[in-house]
Symmetry: C3
Subunit: 110 residues, 3 copies
């Protein structure tokens, strides 16, 4: 058993969830916030058998898209960051999905 | 050290949390959403010593109950799922708790 | 690759996030609730290379502070806990950060 922790953009969350459900996978969605852009995103927990990891990763790859965003960072920037003159809108490439696959020592369902 | 990630129904969250606290365990609760039923549930993080995993799992088993629910799935279903004629209310067995036990490489508390 | 799961007090979340971002780390913030005090706190997911774990832990240590709180626990206490006469405000030491470092089997970003 592996636990996939996947962080995706909110706009892609619905499509990837539908695809996972339609293929019979189990998933849990958690509202989260990106550290840099301070915008809402979605963190999925998907517990799968080891031989399903690649298929599930491919579902994320298919339904989650990288986008280029122009943002003026919301951060009350630390001195060193402000010193980089972040007053100009910054172009940031936000990835489609960031995926961590963790090993599960023990799984129980009751 | 192990990190238990346990997903339970909201109606059982209070009881299981009280039981964990009364026995001196430490826990953190995260609001989450079930992928299939698109309903709120609770995800617990419980960091424990390895020899406490079974006791904590038993607390979840005691306080979290499986239920049969009649639902008309909320999903904007993908074509293949809609084709299964999901217009009729679907009877779904929702488990009491889904538990992943993860190994912790390093633990710090300050 | 390691996944750091760090639980901190809300009052420290902004400062630690700014410090992580300024140093180029990637992080995701999740709103959570402490099991004992039933108060909001923050759970961070920070995926880092193995040789960055100590530096990131040091950032949490620098920006997250333990505090002593007087609380009257909100819990609908279980009988045994109520029997301990928790009507008096309880002095509780709330740590600055609780950190779990998990091993990542596989990492993908697209
Ligand atoms: N300290 C920093 N300095 C300069 N640029 C930075 C930066 N942190 C992030 N970025 C850039 O901003 C994008 C959005 O990051 P955010 O933190 O809002 O949203 C992130 C975050 O919520 C999560 N994430 C990515 N890598 C992570 C990691 N290693 N650990 C935890 N969460 C991660 O996935 C979202 C998308 O990340 P992605 O890498 O595709 O895209 C990132 C990255 O291109
Ligand atoms: N491997 C896993 N990884 C991550 N999270 C997991 C998981 N297994 C279970 N969960 C979480 O636990 C909740 C209860 O799951 P359970 O399997 O008992 O009960 C499930 C199951 O009986 C059924 N179900 C879930 N996904 C399905 C699917 N793709 N196709 C058919 N039935 C599904 O609907 C019930 C409610 O599911 P829902 O998604 O709303 O809520 C799920 C989900 O949030
Ligand atoms: N092993 C673990 N697994 C998962 N999450 C963990 C954890 N250890 C700590 N946490 C999280 O970190 C917060 C601060 O914990 P700390 O141990 O510093 O400070 C704690 C501790 O001093 C005390 N405490 C917690 N649980 C207790 C219990 N069952 N009995 C007595 N005191 C407790 O109350 C303070 C606030 O606890 P609260 O639950 O509100 O909030 C906790 C909880 O959200």
């Amino acid at each position: 058993m592996k636990l996939i922790v996947a962080i995706v953009q909110d706009v892609d969350a619905r499509a990837v969830l539908d695809a996972l459900m339609a293929d019979g996978y189990r998933a849990t969605r958690i509202s989260s916030t990106g550290g840099f852009l301070v915008r809402g995103n979605s963190t999925f927990l998907v517990g799968v058998e080891e031989n399903q990891v690649e298929t599930v990763a491919a579902i994320f790859k298919k339904h989650c898209h990288a986008r280029r965003e122009f943002v003026s960072p919301m951060l009350p920037l630390s001195e060193e960051a402000a010193a980089r003159h972040w007053v100009q809108p910054l172009e940031v490439e936000v990835g489609g999905a960031t995926i961590f696959v963790l090993n599960v020592d023990q799984f129980e369902h009751f």
